[in-house]
Amino acid sequence: MTTTAPTHEQQASRFAASVREHLSDLPEAELDELLDGLPADLAERLDDDGELGDPRQYADELRQAAGLPSRGEVRTAPSRRMRETLRETRIRFAERTSDFWAATPARRSLIEFLLALRPVWWVLRGLVLGWLLLMLAGHPVVNGLPFSFPALLLASVLVIVSVQWGRGRWQPKAWTVGLRRVTSAVAALLLLPVTGIAWNALTNPVYIESGPIVVDGLSIDGIPISSIFAFDCAGQPIDGVQLFDQNGQPLTTLHRDGGAGAEPVWGFDEERQENIVYDRNGLAGYAGMWNVFPLQEARAGIDRDPTRAEPRDATWPLAETLPLSPACAGAENAQSTTPEAGPAETSGGGPVGPDSAGRPDASGR
């Protein structure tokens, strides 16, 4: 016998448990009386000659000698019989399993190692049950995990109960043993998903949004648009462009729904390090005409107050852009003195009449 073999006490209590299972049809009180002190007797027996024999035979002998009814006599209802069969199967399975794990020193040491880890399971069982109860109670979650003082308190209490159960304490009644079994099964089932959630919460923190971020006024991808610059077909800037939306409403860059006191979001010129406050286009003759672009700009350095600066015509981000097509370019070049444009005019721009597009240079600049 190697040193890792189960001790006589362990063997004895296992054997006693098995005998008890075989006598499980008897009343609980009778069983307690009958088997009280048995483990000690068995252990001593093992110390003497190391043989206990077959627990079933042992149980039968015990039953007969004690003058107790045999299993068949007690058995009545078919449901009971089925339970008995299930129980027998379970006992056989448990015996075979324990024999398998006791067969080699390696298996025994693995089992011993796992047994040493049992307290971890007790703690996890408490935590998982706490999580489940809080979920059932509809506790708000952060990242799938409930975080609050009551949640912490509940989890602590459950961990304590679970550990006490694990140590074989706090189970005065038979039903608490049943409860322990059920909760253990539930906790075992939930262990993996809850671990996954907790792991996810630890590795990928998700911040709760207090609400969707709403950007008032005209914006693109959440970034507000303050002013708009339009270019004509030939790629030249247009001043005094009036914009309307699909409903024919003036399209403005005013913040806060264009209500009273609304203004476009301040801009910032990275290149010049200037803050920009916007004002109506110089051509807009009426107070509400915020849909005329580009807006005038009042610029000031970052250490100054731009609202005190004088509004001026906008500084265009681009002096000009590409013409939409050669035809447009031709139209432009008709009035241009650019030498490279000359051949374009003769080839395609000739028949085009005088440019009717609003020339920003004429009015805005």
């Binding site: 009386e33 000690a40 007797d41 068995l42 001593e44 007969q64 000698a65 004690a66 003058g67 107790l68």
Partner: protein, 120 residues
């Protein structure tokens, strides 16, 4: 006939007698029966008998805690048990006398004719 079969009928008396000599716990009683020569006696039979005699009021129990390991349940004989044992002693005396007379007187004849016979 096996000794265990014979033992069944008189195990009560044997157990009572052992416990009357001195209080004992289950395995202690088993051991004393074995030491007395009843090697075939089954542990479970003795425990069951102890339990039955206790239920019948012939024995009483008390628990002795042990420093290392599970506690021991000691049995001691009650007045009812003493009475029962007295009755069984009487019965046994008569029974054993009759059987000795019956079986042992014919022994020589049996050894001669049947020791190696087909019934053996």
């Amino acid at each position: 006939m096996e000794a265990t079969q014979l033992l069944k009928g008189v195990l009560d008396a044997a157990v009572l007698a052992v416990v009357q000599q001195d209080d004992g716990y289950g395995y202690d009683v088993v051991r004393r029966l074995r030491d007395a020569g009843l090697e075939e006696v089954g542990d479970a039979s003795v425990y069951g008998t102890l339990r039955r005699l206790y239920a019948a009021g012939a024995l009483s129990t008390y628990v002795v805690p042990s420093e290392d390991g599970p506690h021991r349940k000691y049995y001691s004989i009650t007045p009812v048990g003493e009475q029962l044992l007295d009755q069984q002693r009487g019965t046994w005396r008569r029974f054993s006398a009759v059987l000795s007379e019956l079986i042992l007187q014919q022994q020589p004849a049996l050894t001669d004719s049947e020791a190696k016979g087909p019934r053996a």
